[in-house]
């Protein structure tokens, strides 16, 4: 989780990723941030994030992102 928060802070520093649960719905992460984030997450966790996974539910919080990463690693 720590590494994920580091990646997020590198992309968009203006958010508290420990507590925030509306990163997408609250327009904190833009579509450009998401493009960066996906490329970073794929490199870091050796996963492929298909377009279908790019939904607010998977990116609204760091915890939701971690859950998605773990699921994709299992696949």
């Amino acid at each position: 989780m720590e590494r994920l928060i580091e990646i997020l802070e590198d992309i968009q520093p203006d958010a508290d990723y420990e507590t925030c649960t509306n990163l997408i719905d609250g327009h904190i992460l833009s579509s450009l941030d998401i493009i960066s984030l996906i490329a970073e997450l794929e490199d870091e966790y050796d996963i492929t994030i298909p377009a279908v996974e790019i939904v607010p539910a998977n990116f609204n919080s760091a915890a939701a992102m971690m859950k998605m990463i773990e699921r994709l690693q299992e696949d």
């Binding site: 579509s31 450009l32 493009i35 960066s36 996906i38 490329a39 970073e40 377009a51 279908v52 790019i54």
Partner: protein, 543 residues
């Protein structure tokens, strides 16, 4: 039974939800039959009503809808079959071999999806764009001095083709992604594809949004009936009182643009933008209202777009379902392509967090806006319209860090109300310019009209004679102005989270019915219909 008398009256007039034939014949008949049949029949009544509606409007072209639904149904089942085979096969394999076995099945599924996309988008391309394509090919050949030319093909276009084709593709892709289980009930899928309120102008629904609701419809509830009728009346007010009243002025200015100076053209562009908004959002109010009467929550297609602070925000609030379709089925798939992800990673290292992802983002954005422009029509002016918004949104993204540092240096509070007001006005001006090109009869006419706003601007239209030559008078403008204020106040309250219909429902019966009667009489008295007015078709139905 001979239905020719209905067909003669319905046909074209039925395309509008506010046409008398629809409001006082089709919809009440549908509601009465729907109410008296047993619950288990209600969904079939909706299906029959939807196909009758399509038949009244497009006649034998209903075959397109039937074939489209049939192909989507079969392709969905085909994908489902491959997915079941894959699951069964993978279950039998040891864990380490599963990953290697999967791609074969995924490739087979992709081929089916591709077939579905080619069928539906291909049909749309042939019917809607082949004329435009061959016209340009002929122009190019002529330019090269060739005497060869192609005859321009013309196809009869069924109503709503641009809408239900996108719905068809979204269903196939969602089944492929495992977001939806392929529907084994052909009639349920047919109702999802054809539901009569949405077939003319959308919204473009995803299967998960409406299919289940439509198949589980029950008796009409009093609250749904009143809320739905209120929404329908509100939409009627926007369309009949504002959009149709502005139509003579807009038509006159855009059809005889050479007769007018830049001031009149600016007035025309503003009035056209208002007309388009009131026409389209009014129709969407009707869709939502009719849906609500049957107990179906239709996705919202507008969220007060003229409160937007930027063009990107505007397009998240205007024609939301089209924007969402392009985002989900073009923008993210393009940016998620392997090559794009590589590009983003390397560009981010060289150009930083902001400009790095902008390269892949701008390629995807270009695809989205090229398709968006073309979706609206087969003409260079529509492609220009798309590219205009592509450039604006790209520019907004590119200059965002510079604007932020500029504001910080000059101590400008970007959260203040005046700053927000400036952003809203700037966005509205940019939207109006875009709509000028959208409505102008071609690119050349668009540039000529735009140029006039700078070279020969005056307020001559304030003179009553100019207005009357444009087919309207001061009374018309006053009625339009008052109605716009009403819509503005309602929008402002919605923006602040005030639910007007719910608040009204808590008031006493006299006040509730007074509002109903005021709205009805307002539309009857101030609506632009009858003698002296040409009925205006729903503007988005032509796209």
């Amino acid at each position: 039974m001979d239905l020719s008398f209905l067909l003669a009256g319905c046909g074209k007039a039925m395309t509008s939800f506010f046409a008398l034939t629809f409001l006082f014949l089709f919809l009440p008949a549908c509601l009465i039959i729907y109410s008296i049949v047993p619950r288990s029949w209600k969904k079939y009544i909706l299906l029959i009503a939807s196909y009758l509606f399509f038949w009244f409007v497009s006649g034998t072209l209903v075959i397109y809808l039937i074939l489209s639904t049939l192909s989507v149904f079969l392709l969905g089942l085909w994908i489902d079959r491959i997915q079941t085979q894959m699951k069964d096969h993978l279950k039998e394999l040891p864990k380490e071999e599963r990953k290697a076995a999967k791609p074969k099945y995924m490739r087979r599924q992709k081929r089916v999806v591709l077939l579905g996309v080619v069928l539906h988008i291909g049909l749309l391309l042939v019917i809607k764009y082949s004329g435009f394509f061959f016209l340009n090919v002929n122009g190019f050949l002529k330019l090269c001095g060739s005497s060869v030319w192609f005859s321009i093909p013309r196809f009869a276009m069924p109503i709503g083709l641009s809408f239900f084709s996108l719905q068809a593709v979204s269903y196939i892709v969602d089944v492929y992604h495992g977001l939806e289980k392929a529907d084994r009930n052909f009639l349920r899928l047919a109702l999802f594809m054809s539901f009569f309120p949405q077939i003319v102008e959308g919204p473009i629904c995803r299967y998960s949004q409406t299919a289940g609701q439509l198949w589980q419809v029950g008796p009409i509830k009093y609250e749904n009936l009143t809320f739905g009728l209120q929404r329908l009346l509100y939409g009627a007010m926007k369309k009949v009182v504002v959009a149709d009243r502005l139509n003579p002025l807009v038509t006159q200015i855009f059809d005889t643009t050479n007769n007018y100076d830049g001031g009149v053209i600016a007035l025309g562009a503003v009035c056209y933008t208002i007309q388009l908004y009131m026409d389209f959002s009014g129709a969407m109010d009707a869709v939502a209202g009719i849906g609500q009467i049957f107990g179906v929550t239709m996705p919202e297609n507008f969220e007060r777009p003229f409160f937007s602070h930027s063009i990107s925000e505007f397009w998240k609030r205007w024609h939301i379902s089209l924007g969402a379709w392009f985002r989900d089925y073009i923008f993210y798939p393009v940016t998620s392509a392997k090559s794009m992800k590589k590009l983003t990673s390397s560009a981010r290292k060289k150009l930083g967090n902001h400009f790095g992802p902008l390269i892949a983002g701008s390629i995807a954005l270009f695809c989205v806006w090229f398709c968006n422009g073309l979706w609206h029509g087969a003409a260079w002016s529509f492609i220009f319209f798309g590219m205009y918004h592509f450039v604006l949104i790209l520019t907004e993204n590119m200059i965002a860090p510079a604007v932020k540092s500029f504001n910080t240096k000059l101590h400008i509070n970007s959260a203040s109300k005046p700053y927000h007001a400036m952003q809203i006005v700037r966005t509205a001006v940019l939207v109006v310019i875009g709509e000028l090109f959208f409505r102008a009869g071609g690119l050349q006419a668009g540039f000529s009209m735009f140029g006039k706003m700078f070279t020969s601007f005056s307020f001559s239209w304030l003179n009553g004679d100019t207005l009357s030559s444009l087919g309207v008078d001061w009374q018309d403008m006053l009625i339009v102005g008052i109605t716009i204020i009403i819509v503005f106040v309602v929008s402002l309250m919605n923006e602040k989270g005030i639910k007007l219909r719910e608040s009204l429902a808590k008031k006493n019966i006299v006040l509730r019915w007074s509002v109903f009667y005021i709205l009805i009489f307002y539309i009857i008295i101030f609506g632009a219909y009858g003698f002296g007015y040409i009925p205006v078709d729903p503007m988005y139905a032509q796209f």
